[in-house]
């Protein structure tokens, strides 16, 4: 029983550490919030992560940040593996992650990736009178939008 408790603790500890690892491009959300962490094995020996976009330049930085944070917490022997399948989707962003994105000024993706066309509400004034300026924004995961009421531009997390 003692060893079982110890292994449960390990997986929990890993989860706590990962909850504190920010995304390098959007530091308001953690790698857990974004659904980048796919699996922590129950023994607490292996963490599986998945890239958001094939070409996301932050992928290597994210892996390095996770390895460094785990080592810092005395969990340096955890193995990090990359898993491509099933491919990442914005459906995996947690409700907390969506709330944090909105508070940070980024319109979160709709709750289901099947609802791609709906105009997002402006993260500043809440108006739904918004228009897409460019489908490609400052990072691969974001599009550029503008609010027609408060006139502010804002990023929208692309549905993927």
């Amino acid at each position: 029983m003692v060893s079982r408790v110890a292994t449960l603790d390990r997986a929990e500890r890993i989860r706590d550490v990962l909850a504190g690892v920010p995304d390098p491009e959007i530091p308001a959300v953690s790698v857990l919030d974004l659904g980048i962490v796919r699996d922590i094995d129950p023994e607490g020996r292996r963490v599986a992560i998945t890239p958001t976009y094939s070409g996301c330049p932050a992928t290597a930085a994210i892996a390095a940040a996770i390895v460094a944070a785990l080592a810092e917490a005395g969990l340096g022997d955890v193995r990090l593996v990359t898993r491509l399948d099933p491919p990442w989707t914005t459906d995996w962003i947690t409700p907390e992650g969506r709330a944090k994105l909105l508070a940070y000024g980024i319109a979160p993706p709709p709750a289901s990736s099947r609802l791609t066309e709906a105009a997002p509400a402006c993260p500043r004034c809440g108006s739904t009178a918004t228009r897409e300026v460019s489908r490609f924004g400052s990072t691969p995961c974001k599009a550029l939008w503008r609010c027609l009421d408060c006139a502010e531009p804002f990023d929208r997390f692309k549905c993927h």
């Binding site: 890239p51 976009y53 094939s54 070409g55 996301c56 330049p57 992928t59 491509l84 399948d85 099933p86 491919p87 990442w88 300026v133 460019s134 489908r135 490609f136 924004g137 400052s138 691969p140 550029l144 993927h160």
Partner: protein
């Protein structure tokens, strides 16, 4: 007779080369595009492609089993060892030609990745499932610009027709079969290239109709990229892309 592993290596390599070379070409637009939004869009497309190339070339190296990783394959091969299709190495030309090239490539790639998502090879299937979503964006972006240019001013229309005309002779190569594609089609790892043609033509015709532009007349196809016979343009592209890792092989970020 080509072995399954050899065919798989060469196939992953050619798809990776397609992505890498076109990604590099799109990078040439960075800072020079007609508007900031287009600059961002083309750079984003290029990033997606280079990301796909990293997966595909990495897998090619793994299958080959000679210790070459994605960087080794990208930066330490010469022109005749590249097996990308000729379409992607063509110079950017003007914006309309870049869009025509992107549209034709993305229309083909979206279908290919869609089929590869059901590949009997789990790694190719995983890469394709991820890439097919990105490619759908590329097709939508380039298709919308096709319509906008074709249905725009007399000058934008003329430029689009010229650009499409330039690219058209490289289309047939995308559907060409060889021993690699035959071996993989038999093993249900990849679709036979010709299987995609009818669906490709339907996509192209729909967008050309929207753009109000005729499909270019059939012409003699230029082929050879898959076998390492390239236009003069690829060498110049590689010289720029490969300079740093070749001059400073131990360089690290």
């Amino acid at each position: 007779m080509v072995t399954r592993d050899d065919a798989l290596f060469r196939y992953a390599l050619r798809l990776g080369d397609d992505s890498l070379v076109l990604g590099q070409r799109l990078g040439e637009w960075c800072g020079k595009a007609p508007a900031l939004e287009i600059d961002l869009a083309l750079a984003n497309l290029g990033l997606d492609l280079i990301g796909q190339a990293t997966f595909l070339l990495g897998y090619a190296g793994e299958v080959e089993g000679k210790g070459r990783d994605a960087d080794r394959l990208a930066f330490h091969r010469d022109v005749m060892d590249f097996s990308n299709c000729l379409l992607v190495e063509q110079p950017n030309g003007d914006f309309a030609r870049t869009i025509a090239r992107q549209f034709l490539f993305s229309a083909w790639r979206a279908l290919l990745f869609g089929d590869l998502a059901a590949s009997a090879d789990p790694t190719l299937a995983a890469v394709a499932k991820k890439a097919v979503k990105e490619t759908a964006y590329h097709l939508r972006f380039s298709g919308e610009w096709m319509a906008r240019l074709g249905d725009g001013t007399p000058e934008s229309r003329e430029r689009l027709i010229d650009g499409l005309d330039w690219c058209w002779r490289f289309v047939d190569e995308l559907f060409e079969a060889d021993e690699v594609s035959e071996a993989l089609a038999a093993a249900r790892i990849a679709p036979a290239p010709a299987e995609l043609r009818a669906r490709f033509d339907a996509t192209v015709d729909a967008v050309l109709a929207e753009a109000g532009v005729e499909r270019p007349a059939p012409r003699r196809a230029v082929v050879g990229g898959r076998a390492g016979r390239h236009s003069e343009h690829l060498g110049h592209l590689l010289a720029e892309m490969q300079f740093l890792p070749r001059a400073y092989p131990e360089a690290r970020w």
